[in-house]
């Protein structure tokens, strides 16, 4: 049977905040836009973002975008590109107003303006007093934003392919991306979507770790598609472990809890963050707080019968504050930890949360295919959000900058795509050989017989990543990790489905996701092994210092031969002076 084909001006893979904000710009400009999502759009993981989105609105305390920029550069441990960071912090302000105009139900201040709370790593006046920069809709900000963007896309008549799984990008001999091969999950039928431009907005890959705040769907599909298309991933060694996941479970307890006055204690009841970050204390940057918690537990000051977690104390706060500002957290704590935070502290431990690295783009969201510092972008291919790396987070992302990143760069990619399609109005001819290659990859899963199950290999893989690429990393442990993940990649050939039907076959989609996770996991393990310094979220007790002379550069990883290369950090902002690297203390 002939493969069904459809044509669009733009193909967007992913329907989270980045994909939907891009789609909205495009649909408003009357472009023919297709959004492919493996789940119904409002189930995308943006929905789970709790605390808020940063923008220097100065609604609560004095603020401006330049201070926001300083905090972001410092938070990135000087690995972020300062042109992209300047752009993001400036654009934050109109982006948040646009969201509000679109209907996001932000919490409000008495004067009717958007409520803003304090978050980690925020300061006034370049490292001074705590700032309050995070715009919040109670502790359900991601939900409020995602639903609003979906609603506006319905109004704008965006074309959605709900519950379609994107399998591979299709490219021609010159490497230009022509669209993607996708699979209708309900029927198992493949569909080829040809597009003049393609935007990857497929989100994160936290499922590569066993304990994670990420959803079942966060399997790094777009990142893996990029690797298979022969393109690199950047800075994949930088993976954020959020300090406060519910102990043993991984569900997130927002930093907003500490922003509202909550703090961490060890088994002696000691407020231990005072030792590690005397000024910012519990609102130090996430990498700092996560390491402090792990250190407390390793040194025997953990709580509980296994002494394997610490406690987040909230019960000194007024119950009305908790009800008003943190209702979702109270609900989650009761359900998953069996604790009412109004009465008792919440058991917490770091949980795999966010990948700073991803598909390298310039500050216009265009994908950069080489390690050449002055290299050109790949025409027609864009990436935005957690799947991408602009790079605005460098080695460590600040809380509240993730929603910001997806919204700013999703919106911007949309605007740039409009211009690109104007200048490049026709489709390029399809490369049939490449389509056959992609179809062959799908067809591989029709091979019958005995083998390893998807769930068995997935378990082995996620445990390996947790054991060998976690919060603290040393050479031998990581070397062993890389070898183990390589062996797991070999084992993929022996995995067999037990279900070969076409109708809503989750066994097949989970097999495709497992391939993606392993490809992405190896990029993390390989990039981490070779970075011999400690910077941001990448902590090496064997190389405890940041080494700017040798390592102030971005890692690039290509799948072929597990090859690495490096490129310079863009330290020159657009209009202001560069922030030179300084020792990072909180």
């Amino acid at each position: 049977m002939a493969l069904e084909k459809q044509r669009f001006d733009t193909l967007i893979l992913g329907a989270g905040g980045a994909g939907l904000n891009a789609a909205l710009q495009l649909a408003n400009a009357n472009l023919k836009v297709a959004v492919v999502s493996k789940v119904f759009p409002t189930r995308s993981h943006t929905v789970a973002a709790q605390g808020g989105v940063n923008a220097a609105l100065a609604n609560v305390l004095p603020d401006n975008w330049h201070w926001h920029m300083f905090d972001t550069v410092k938070g990135s441990d000087y690995l972020g590109d300062q042109d992209a960071i300047e752009y993001m912090c400036r654009e934050a302000i109109p982006t948040v107003y646009e969201l509000e105009h679109n209907g996001v139900p932000f919490s409000r201040l008495d004067n009717g303006k958007i409520y803003q709370r304090a978050f980690g790593g925020q300061s006034q006046n370049f490292g001074g007093d705590q700032a309050a920069r995070t715009c919040a809709a109670a502790d359900r900000t991601g939900h409020a934003i995602l639903h609003t963007l979906y609603q506006q896309n319905i109004r704008a008549k965006t074309h959605f392919f709900d519950e379609y799984f994107a399998a591979d990008l299709i490219q021609d001999q010159e490497g230009i991306i022509l669209g993607a091969l996708v699979l209708d999950i309900a029927t198992g039928e493949p569909l080829l979507i040809e597009a003049k431009t393609t935007l990857l907005a497929t989100g994160g890959c936290g499922q590569v770790f066993r304990t994670t705040s990420n959803a079942h769907i966060n399997t790094g599909d777009g990142k893996a598609m990029i690797l298979r298309a022969g393109l690199p991933l950047m800075d994949m060694e930088f993976f954020q472990f959020h300090p406060t996941g519910i102990a043993g479970k991984g569900m997130l307890i927002t930093e907003g809890v500490r922003g509202e006055g909550g703090y961490l204690i060890n088994k002696d009841g000691e407020r231990f963050m005072e030792k590690y970050a005397p000024n910012a204390k519990d609102l130090a940057s996430r990498d700092v707080v996560a390491r402090s918690i792990v250190t407390e537990v390793r040194e025997g000051r953990g709580c509980g019968p296994e002494a394997d977690h610490v406690m987040l104390k909230v019960n000194h706060l007024d119950e009305a504050v908790i009800a008003k500002r943190l209702p979702g957290i109270r609900e989650s704590s009761k359900i998953f930890a069996g604790v009412d935070p109004v009465k008792d502290p919440i058991p917490v431990f770091p949980t795999a949360h966010y990948v700073m690295g991803g598909i390298p783009t310039d500050r216009f969201g265009r994908v950069m295919p080489t390690s050449d510092d002055d290299g050109d972008h790949l025409p027609g291919l864009y990436a935005a959000g957690e799947c991408a790396c602009a790079s605005v987070h460098g080695a460590n992302r600040l809380g509240g900058n993730s929603l910001l990143d997806i919204l700013v760069f999703g919106r911007l990619a949309g605007k740039n795509i409009i211009d690109y399609v104007k200048d490049n109005p026709s489709h390029r001819p399809l490369d049939e050989a490449n389509v056959e290659w992609a179809m062959g990859r799908l067809g591989r899963w029709d091979t019958k017989g005995d083998g390893i199950t998807v769930s068995d290999l997935r378990k082995e893989f996620r445990k390996t990543m947790e054991d060998h690429a976690g919060v603290f990393r040393v050479e031998d442990m990581m070397q062993e990790g890389v070898e183990k993940v390589r062996a797991i990649r070999e084992k993929l050939a022996d995995v067999r489905l037990t279900d070969y039907s076409n109708t809503f076959n989750t066994n097949r989609t989970e097999a495709l996701e497992l391939e993606n996770m392993i490809d992405v996991g190896l990029s993390i393990a390989t990039s981490a092994l070779h970075r011999k310094e400690s910077r941001g979220a990448h902590s090496r007790p064997d190389y405890p210092k940041r080494d700017d002379a040798e390592w102030m550069k971005h890692t690039l990883y290509w799948q072929e031969g597990d090859r690495l290369d490096y490129k310079g950090v863009r330290s020159q902002p657009l209009t202001v002076e560069s922030f030179p690297p300084k020792e990072r203390v909180y």
Binding site: E100, R108, T506
Partner: protein, 230 residues
């Protein structure tokens, strides 16, 4: 712990059947964990799920006769043998996966987006905390479908009655001080079916995993209509 799970694959089964599974229940385990364990035993078993913390709304199922979100339903609250079925009244695609297109179409019918007629200000549209409080209990809906698929009026007239979820969404925009299309919204809900087929049976309130009250929202819309009529 013993489970009896609804199975149906249109490619191989002439009709649906119930299949027994035995799962080792651990402390703190949720129904979703049990369904994932069942899937490990039998990879052909199919259900939707994602966030695992009750915010994405993917894993609504019918368990022991009630619609619930599997990921926030503790096994300790369920009576054995736990009977798990797809949402009632919706066409089954496979196992626990149902076709929700009607449900989404009804949501779209209420124009669920903010409508402004005046020019937009440069900064935010101002809204007092009291005005914003009116959205609480309305905006938190996760569109899981537990309510609408437990509503008898929805089962009988799914093509004409909008159902509790869509009406809750209609109320969310009617309640928003920033929205400027109340009149059009109310007019579009006129007639004997769209809104007025709600007979306050209140299954929706019982079913909502987020503790929302669609019946109250529907009553609120009716009250505004009545006030406008007088």
């Amino acid at each position: 712990m013993k489970f009896s799970v609804y199975r149906y694959n249109p490619e191989t089964d002439n009709e649906p059947y119930m299949q027994a599974f035995d799962i080792e229940a651990r402390q703190g385990m949720m129904l979703r964990d049990a369904l994932m364990a069942i899937q490990e035993q039998d990879e052909s078993f199919t259900f939707r799920h994602s966030c695992g913390e009750g915010v994405c709304g993917s894993d609504g199922v019918n368990v022991n006769g009630s619609n619930k979100l599997a990921c926030i339903t503790p096994l300790s609250e369920l009576k054995e043998t736990v009977e798990v079925r797809p949402f009632p009244g919706r066409p089954v695609i496979r196992d626990l996966v149902v076709d929700m297109s009607q449900f989404y179409a009804q949501y779209k019918q209420v124009d669920p987006w903010l409508i402004r007629k005046e020019p937009l200000p440069e900064q935010e549209i101002l809204q007092s905390p009291e005005e914003r409080d009116k959205l609480d209990g309305l905006y938190e809906c996760i569109m899981c479908g537990c309510c609408s698929t437990s509503c008898p009026s929805f089962w009988w007239n799914p093509d004409k009655f909008l159902g509790p979820q869509a009406l809750l969404s209609a109320c969310r925009f009617l309640a928003d001080s920033r929205d400027q299309a109340s009149e059009e919204r109310l007019n579009s809900l006129e007639g004997p079916y769209k809104l007025f087929r709600c007979h306050t049976i209140m299954n929706c309130v019982e079913a909502c995993p987020k503790g929302l009250n669609p019946t109250k929202a529907i009553g609120h819309i009716k009250a505004i209509m009545l006030k406008d009529a007088i």
